[in-house]
């Protein structure tokens, strides 16, 4: 027997609920593919508006994530066009390819908790740069201006800080697994 069809309002409610459940997942993907962190929320809001507008086209018997992907990709591309040239997202082909290869089993939550401790192993200036970039969503160029550094110095410091933090959290993860 056929499933009863949802009314437009029910369909919209369903799509909005499924979207809200996936906000963390969407945010992470957008953060990875759009380097201008100040635009990430806009992409999420645009995606929400788009899925609301197109709710009638979602087939509830199919994967919501699969249906959502092109909408997110399009929003990243559309909003990303407004970013400065060096902060733009990848082309839509590359985003598609990255979507298809995204690992499913990452534990960002654990990583984040370890970061609380690991950030303190950074030198004070490196910590400040990380905070400006990731807490205040500033672009590295803006960080450089604020701190009176060259752009290149900030890029190097950020890359080294991420590498050092990766080493630190990996060590904590290994220690936890050994125990």
């Amino acid at each position: 027997m056929e499933e009863p069809r949802l009314t437009p309002a029910q369909q919209r409610d369903l799509v909005q609920r499924l979207f809200l459940e996936r906000v963390p997942e969407i945010r992470r993907f957008v953060t990875a593919t759009l380097p201008d962190l100040a635009l990430v929320d806009e992409v999420i809001q645009q995606t929400f508006k788009a899925v609301t507008a197109d709710a009638a086209f979602y087939d509830p018997t199919q994967s919501f994530t699969v249906w959502l992907h092109p909408v997110v990709r399009h929003a990243v591309a559309t909003v990303g066009r407004r970013a400065e040239p060096l902060s733009q997202p990848f082309s839509e082909d590359v985003i598609d390819s990255l979507m298809a290869s995204r690992p499913t089993a990452t534990d960002i939550g654990a990583l984040r908790r370890w970061l609380d401790e690991c950030v303190h192993v950074l030198a004070p200036q490196a910590r400040k740069i990380v905070e400006l970039r990731y807490r205040k969503a500033m672009k590295p160029r803006e960080v450089a201006k604020l701190m009176g550094w060259t752009n290149a110095s900030v890029h190097v410091a950020l890359s080294r800080a991420r590498a050092a933090l990766r080493q630190c959290v990996d060590a904590k993860k290994a220690a936890l697994e050994a125990s």
Partner: protein, 339 residues
């Protein structure tokens, strides 16, 4: 391209420093090489985790939990604001994100650093388009008593009338608007002859958003537009928009209204006083931070005379209008909010 080079280019991508030939080279590598994509995701994981850490710490440091209150902008203003906001990136700023006309998607005020999503809530007949001009909405029993709505998604209240453009005032949106007409006493109100406010109420069911509300930090925002095209006069009118948020059962709150107003677990109000001759629409915005046990809300819009003369008759409102009432729920989506 070797791994060291790809590693360097990915770092530059995350650092907003990848353009030209280098960007093209990395894109080609990512399209063609599964190991390059694997390396990208390995490095992206730290980038994503750091941003979540940053958002979480931003919230913990006590930044504003409620986005700044501001009147509803027009679509044109929204788009202009958006462009300006995106360009100005070095200060905590507000992104105002546009609306989708005809979809009920209203507007959004989203902090740049405190992640939030604005969800338009369904407010029945918010533009007063669903009933023909001349109809008395929320018609009170024999025109004597204020009638609260008995169900969700319906207006109730005092004597108000749906109208088209009149008296030099055109609707904010659509073809209809609402005219406040007469203050009626509430049930059990003894001061029948002194009713001073013409109220409009609607119950809003928040049950659907319980998963988001229990995480905390949600904000309910009601916006209404009001106009006082009546003659200039010495005794003014207060236009008020209120949001009352409750945890209990609607039936018991309605049965005891207005005394049960005091049982509200959160409220928000904005008012403006008018002395006539103000045909231009003014936007009023009431916001309430939702406690985690919020179950439903009552939106109240009223025109209230500030005449406190003893023995005066029930207030009658001449050319007082309301239109384009909207409701949104701002849902924080940062890690500190449990996301």
């Amino acid at each position: 391209m070797n791994e060291i080079r790809i590693n360097e280019l990915i770092d530059r991508f995350f650092n907003c420093d990848l353009g030209g030939a280098d960007r093209a080279a990395l894109e080609q590598a990512l399209l063609r090489s599964p190991p390059a994509r694997a390396l990208f995701w390995e490095k992206a994981e730290m980038h994503e985790a750091l941003r979540e850490w940053g958002l979480e710490h931003w919230d913990r440091l006590g930044q504003p939990a409620v986005p700044g209150r501001r009147p509803l902008p027009t679509a044109a203003v929204l788009l202009t604001s958006l462009g300006r906001a995106v360009r100005a990136a070095t200060i905590p700023l507000t992104l105002v994100i546009g609306s989708l006309v005809g979809m009920g998607v209203a507007w959004a005020v989203v902090s740049q650093v405190r992640a939030a999503l604005t969800v338009p809530l369904r407010l029945a007949n918010g533009g007063f388009e669903d009933e023909p001009p001349g109809s008395i909405m929320a018609s009170a029993e024999a025109d004597r008593l204020e009638q609260l709505p008995k169900t969700f998604a319906a207006w109730g209240g005092d004597r108000v009338r749906v109208c088209s453009a009149e008296q030099g005032v055109s609707p904010v949106e659509g073809r209809r608007m609402l005219a406040f007409e007469k203050a009626l006493p509430g049930p059990g109100d003894e001061a029948v002859t002194r009713a001073d406010s013409c109220d409009l109420f609607q119950l809003v069911d928040l049950a659907k958003y319980r998963p988001q509300i229990v995480r905390g930090g949600c904000v309910l925002t009601a916006v209404a537009h009001v106009s006082d095209a009546g003659p200039v006069r010495p005794v003014g009118t207060d236009f008020v928009v209120r949001v009352h948020v409750f945890a209990g059962e609607p039936e018991s709150v309605l049965a005891g209204w207005p005394h049960t107003r005091l049982e509200a677990i959160a409220t928000g109000t904005e008012r403006v006083t008018s002395f006539g001759g103000q045909a231009a629409w003014r936007g009023l915005t009431a916001q309430a931070s939702l406690p985690k046990d919020a179950v439903f809300a009552i939106i109240q819009i009223d025109a209230t005379t500030i005449d406190r003369t003893p023995g005066r008759p029930a207030a009658v409102f001449d050319r007082h209008y309301c239109d384009d009432v909207r409701l949104t729920l701002t849902v924080p989506t940062s890690p500190a909010a449990g996301y």
